[in-house]
């Protein structure tokens, strides 16, 4: 099996121009692009990911310059899924971020063979913790810190729940960090490898954290859920884990699912099983170190 790191720069650029079949957990993305940020993002952050050979791909996507004057004048890029272009054109240096958002968009819009939830998932000692994302709650920062501290990253953005068995499937993709979080994680660990920053996106400054080799090598290993934890960063508070009712967790997760309403009864049953298997908590913290200790205690 070839991995991206096995290609020379030249080979990778040629493959990308034609269309490269990148596998990330259960999905194969056929990615076509001639843009430098896409090339260097994949080169740096997806080096360990497998490249599959022609077969059925899940999504055919591209990040390309539009065929108009904006090719040269303040260049822009357009993300496309097959014939659809769901986003407005973005400045050319947002090309890699646009690829990442586009991949998430494809999964949210089409991967209805999973129940998809807006949450990060990590694993330790064979059990998964799911962190649902309230914007601004510090989910991504905590996910990045845990992934650099002995937890295996399954996903930072979209939890994939198996409709038949209830296990959580990994994607092992890079963690998307914003603004101040980038500096926090850079200061947190000297092992952290980041892609180039994209400035002034609709989410501010954005950069992606490379997943560890172990994370990528185990992208086909699903995991059963152990805990659902709702993190909330609050200044000057001691770290505190408090029980949260399952019914309340269910409702929150349903509302923050990308496809709960598409799946109907099947989605209800899958979510019900997931939440029934999990212990549910609210978690307040102010210092990452305290948070890691609390998660350590949870998993042992």
């Amino acid at each position: 099996m070839m991995r991206i790191r096995d290609f020379s720069d030249r080979e990778l650029a040629d493959r990308l121009a034609q269309g490269l079949d990148l596998r990330t957990g259960p999905f194969i993305f056929h990615i076509q692009s001639r843009d430098d940020p896409v090339f260097s993002g994949l080169r740096r952050l997806y080096a360990d990911f497998p490249v599959s050979e022609a077969g059925v791909r899940d999504f055919h996507i591209s990040v390309c310059r539009p065929a108009n004057l904006r090719r040269w004048y303040r260049p822009q890029v357009v993300f496309k899924h097959d014939r659809e272009s769901p986003f407005k054109p973005l400045p050319a240096n947002h090309a890699f971020a646009s690829l990442e958002w586009g991949m998430n968009w494809c999964i949210a819009g089409y991967a209805h063979h999973f129940l998809t939830l807006h949450a990060a998932v990590l694993e330790r000692n064979g059990r998964a913790v799911m962190l649902p994302g309230e914007p601004g709650a510090g989910k991504s920062t905590l996910t990045a810190a845990l992934s650099l501290s002995g937890w295996r990253l399954l996903t930072d953005e979209t939890a994939l729940v198996d409709l038949d068995t209830g296990v959580l499937w990994p994607m092992a993709r890079p963690v998307n960090l914003k603004n101040h979080s980038i500096d926090i994680i850079q200061a947190f660990s000297s092992d952290a490898v980041f892609g180039d920053k994209a400035f002034d996106t609709h989410k501010g400054t954005v950069s992606h954290l490379k997943p560890s080799l172990d994370t990528v090598m185990r992208m086909d290993e699903p995991c059963r859920i152990g805990w659902v934890v709702f993190p909330r960063w609050q200044a000057d508070l001691p770290a505190r884990l408090t029980r949260r009712p399952r019914a309340d967790t269910f409702v929150y997760a349903a509302e923050n699912s990308f496809n709960y309403s598409v799946l109907g009864e099947t989605g209800f049953r899958a979510l019900e099983r997931l939440i029934r298997e999990a212990e549910c908590f609210d978690f307040h913290y102010s210092r990452l170190e305290d948070a890691l200790l609390a998660f350590d205690r949870l998993s042992t």
Binding site: G55, V56, R57, H60, D82, A111, H112, N259, G264
Partner: protein
């Protein structure tokens, strides 16, 4: 017709033969059927066939996903119709569901795996203002605020500008006729309203009569020029013809109805193209197959480009020009020249203005 388009048609005609496709062929077919809004329909067909278990994993996964989407659409249409009916029921006028919503609410075969955009309804023209007011009171509001658009719809068209529900985001198209006021074909809406079928379980809620369902679908497909859904609409027609032809006397009624409403031409096209592309067994169904010679060869070529327009892989050289010609044709059929030229000019200018922004 190129190989990719041929394969798409084979899939629609013979879902049981799909087990022999290679992975790259499946890869292409999934994209093409999805773009033609036919993936859910194909998924239901293929899942019912032998050999389903042997298909590539990703094919089965995406077809399962597409089946969920189809089921959700049916739930959503039923709910929206229910809410719309709540808003209009007390007016005591017939509310007639058209196309997709009618198929779903009366459980007709084309509803199987069909994807929808808007919900279309037909109401008497003299009550249009009241209907609009009631819907507004129940949360449906207009989206086309531009004065030109308003005038275009209200003076020339057969429908109000689309209205969208403020919280649920669903869109209704309220019609008072099945073709524009200015169109060359002039079926009378009052004639259509004379033969209605009640929707079970609802008062004042109807669909068009059996023959009229087919005539309306055919007129919409061949005269209104929404060709990206052309093949999907032809699949509807095929399902309607197969379903109703088993009823005694239906065929005579269909032709007689086409004569009365002045819709012989679209009916002829519908019969010709369902047979040619989807192998609708017209003769077995007791329908006389139309002579190909009736269709102008140029128009025939344009229609074939239209049916292949869902994805660039399906098209053959000349398709851009052909699609432009179909676009002009649909407008030419919709309004007389003295209205058409200024209208197209306005649209072209408006488009270049948005492009600049």
């Amino acid at each position: 017709m190129n190989a990719a388009f041929q394969r798409l048609l084979t899939a629609l005609r013979h879902p049981e033969k799909m087990a022999s496709l290679s992975e790259p062929e499946w890869d292409a077919l999934l994209r093409h059927t999805r773009n033609a809004s036919l993936l859910s329909r194909l998924a239901l067909d293929v899942r019912a066939c032998q050999g389903w278990d042997t298909l590539p994993l990703r094919v089965r996964q995406h077809m399962r996903a597409a089946t969920f989407v189809a089921e959700r659409q049916i739930r959503a249409v039923r709910w929206e119709v229910h809410k719309m009916h709540e808003a209009l029921e007390h007016m005591g006028i017939p509310i007639v569901l058209l196309k997709g919503a009618a198929y779903v609410m009366d459980d007709l075969p084309p509803s199987r795996g069909r994807l929808f955009g808007d919900i279309d309804l037909l109401v008497p023209r003299d009550r249009l203002g009241d209907v609009e007011m009631q819907l507004r009171l129940h949360g449906w509001h207009g989206t086309h605020h531009d004065a030109y658009d308003q005038r275009y719809y209200r003076e020339w068209m057969h429908e109000l500008p689309p209205i969208t529900h403020i919280t649920r985001g669903s869109t209704l198209d309220v019609h008072h006729n099945i073709v524009p006021l200015t169109a060359r074909l002039k079926p009378q809406a009052s004639g259509l309203l004379a033969d209605l079928h009640p929707i079970p379980g609802y008062s004042n809620l109807y669909r068009l009569g059996n023959a009229d369902l087919i005539l309306h679908s055919a007129t919409h497909l061949f005269h209104e020029g929404e060709w990206t859904h052309g093949l999907r609409d032809l699949v509807d027609l095929d399902a309607l013809l197969r379903h109703f032809a088993s009823k005694p006397g239906f065929l005579n009624a269909l032709h007689a109805r086409a004569d009365t409403l002045g819709l012989q031409k679209p009916l002829q096209y519908a019969l010709q193209y369902t047979q040619a592309l989807l192998l609708t067994p017209l003769r077995e169904l007791g329908l006389s197959a139309p002579s190909k010679k009736l269709t102008n060869p140029l128009i025939n070529r344009l229609f074939m480009h239209g049916f292949a327009s869902a994805h660039p892989d399906l098209s053959v050289p000349g398709s851009r020009l052909a699609l432009f010609a179909l676009y002009l044709r649909s407008h030419w059929l919709r309004m007389p020249m003295h209205l058409l030229l200024p209208h197209l000019l306005h649209k072209a200018l408006a488009r270049s203005k948005t492009a600049e922004e």
